[in-house]
């Protein structure tokens, strides 16, 4: 009996929006990790006067309604405008209503969630660790890979998880630049909205519950890990 309920639950929902959501979150997080580290490194150590401007720009997605970001990206990516036309013509890249556009939008949207923890992690390390490595003849690159990053592991994990979770949760931006194309840009959050609009509360509930449970467990794991890591260091 229990088995049939479970099976009907599986059949009842279309899994595509969920897999698309996780695919998008994974791609976004990996790319953000790669570009987030150099940005955080630069911000943590630079003495340039323009640093506050860059910090403000990176933090914008924290305060702006996602629709604002989505609206401007929609304008920028549109083939009717110069930048979008250039992308289309020279790179063959159409960023509105496409998965690629969604990835780029998500990266901008989640950028502060990757950069802030890593920047804080680096800034909190004793400066003498970096200096000790330089004095031992090691380059900035070696120092970053072998001394700095291994010692800010909790910050890296926090950055990765927050970016991942935040991408799962995005809605307004995806709707603006992605539309809702089945299998291309229709992610879970949008599917939920559509199901509710058509009064399919049961399906909406399935999607919502899965997202809810997964998000909770991801965050729980992070806090458990970071808690034990901190204890381990203090001992």
């Amino acid at each position: 009996m229990g088995n049939t309920i479970f099976e009907s639950f599986i059949d009842m929902i279309d899994w595509q929006p969920l897999t698309l959501t996780f695919q998008l979150a994974l791609t976004t997080t990996i790319l953000l990790f790669l570009i987030g580290i150099p940005i955080a490194y630069w911000l943590a150590y630079t003495k340039f006067k323009i640093k506050p401007i860059i910090e403000a720009i990176i933090s914008l997605p924290l305060v702006l309604p996602p629709t604002v970001l989505g609206f401007y990206l929609l304008l920028a990516f549109s083939p009717n405008n110069s930048f979008g036309a250039w992308l289309d013509q020279y790179l063959g890249l159409r960023l509105v209503f496409s998965y690629e556009g969604l990835v780029l939008g998500s990266m901008l949207y989640s950028l502060p969630f990757m950069v802030h923890p890593i920047q804080a992690g680096l800034a909190n390390l004793s400066p003498s660790l970096r200096e000790a490595s330089y004095v031992l003849g090691k380059s900035e690159w070696t120092t970053l890979l072998r001394v700095l990053l291994p010692n800010i592991r909790p910050a890296l994990i926090t950055g990765i998880v927050l970016s991942f979770a935040h991408t799962i949760g995005e809605f307004g931006l995806v709707l603006m630049i992605g539309g809702s194309i089945q299998g291309e840009t229709k992610v879970a959050s949008i599917a939920i909205y559509e199901q509710v609009e058509s009064l399919n509360y049961a399906v909406a509930n399935s999607y919502s519950f899965i997202l809810f449970a997964l998000s909770f467990f991801i965050l729980l794991l992070v806090y458990l890990y970071n808690g034990s890591y901190t204890k381990h260091i203090i001992k």
Partner: protein
């Protein structure tokens, strides 16, 4: 020989301070820079290491220019081949004791060097430990071993013993003296501890508010017979005492009786160091 001539305006707690230090140092010597905190000692050492850039001046080490403001030469810390002991040890927490030493090993150098240093510094039992499990004294021994892996020309010690207890301090001082001789190093130690600089150094330079106020052989430094009297200014007086300002420090000294001299506030006075106690 090492020739140093450095000037820099530093932002100190009491406002701007002009650091102006120049001296020559022979290879193989143990020099102590002595002075209270805020005198510019650490900034000076950081400039030697290339961690801080001076405004003007030059640093020439064994005929090689490390820094020359006019010629726009500034070698990075990586290019200076120095050993540097930080106040907080700065061991890499993610690596074991041995891992810390291996990290410091230059490319193409045999690992034998590491095992030798582990023996000299008596770290054999600790080699697989992570730094956070070690005591302060043990951490500083590891840091000293790590600083020597490169076979530096110059060993710079930034108050390395200020955070360890009295007994450990003596042991570590012996370790440092031992490696100084064994590895034929030129060593510069920064310290505000009179006993320490006297025990360790061949020569002592007293730094105060960024300026050298005394430069003498260690044997003569605290010996008033051989050292020149110091000039101070009387800032206050009563029946039995004088308060004399020397550089930034104020000293209280007993008045000689019966005194034939008519002391006045603001007038200059020559003092022997031995009779003065710090106010």
């Amino acid at each position: 020989m090492i020739a140093i001539e450095l000037k820099k305006i530093l932002q100190a707690t009491q406002g701007k301070m002009h650091l102006d230090v120049s001296f020559n140092l022979n290879a193989g010597k143990f020099l102590a820079i002595y002075g209270k905190s805020g005198a510019g000692k650490t900034s000076f050492l950081r400039m030697l290491a290339g961690l801080l850039q001076a405004d003007t001046g030059k640093i020439i080490v064994h005929q090689k220019t490390w820094f020359d403001h006019q010629k726009k030469i500034f070698l990075k810390p990586q290019q200076r081949q120095i050993g540097y002991l930080f106040q907080d040890y700065s061991l890499f927490p993610n690596m074991t004791v041995e891992g810390n030493l291996l990290f410091a090993l230059p490319k193409g150098v045999e690992k034998k060097r590491i095992s030798e240093l582990i023996d000299v510094m008596e770290l054999g039992d600790l080699r697989r430990q992570k730094p956070h499990l070690l005591s302060g004294g043990q951490q500083q021994r590891v840091a000293l071993a790590r600083a020597l892996v490169q076979h530096p020309q110059l060993l710079l010690l930034d108050e390395p013993l200020s955070a360890v207890d009295h007994e450990m301090r003596h042991k570590l001082q012996d370790y440092i003296l031992n490696v100084h001789q064994q590895f034929n190093l030129t060593t510069i130690l920064i310290s505000h501890d009179k006993a320490e600089v006297q025990k360790m150094a061949d020569r002592i330079i007293h730094l105060d508010q960024g300026k050298i106020i005394k430069d003498a052989l260690a044997a003569d430094f605290f010996d008033t017979q051989k050292s020149k009297p110091i000039k101070g200014t009387i800032v206050a007086l009563d029946k039995n005492h004088l308060w004399v300002q020397i550089a930034s420090e104020k000293f209280k000294i007993p008045r000689v009786k019966p005194d034939s001299i008519d002391y006045k506030i603001g007038s200059e006075i020559l003092l022997n160091i031995q009779i003065i106690t710090k106010e």
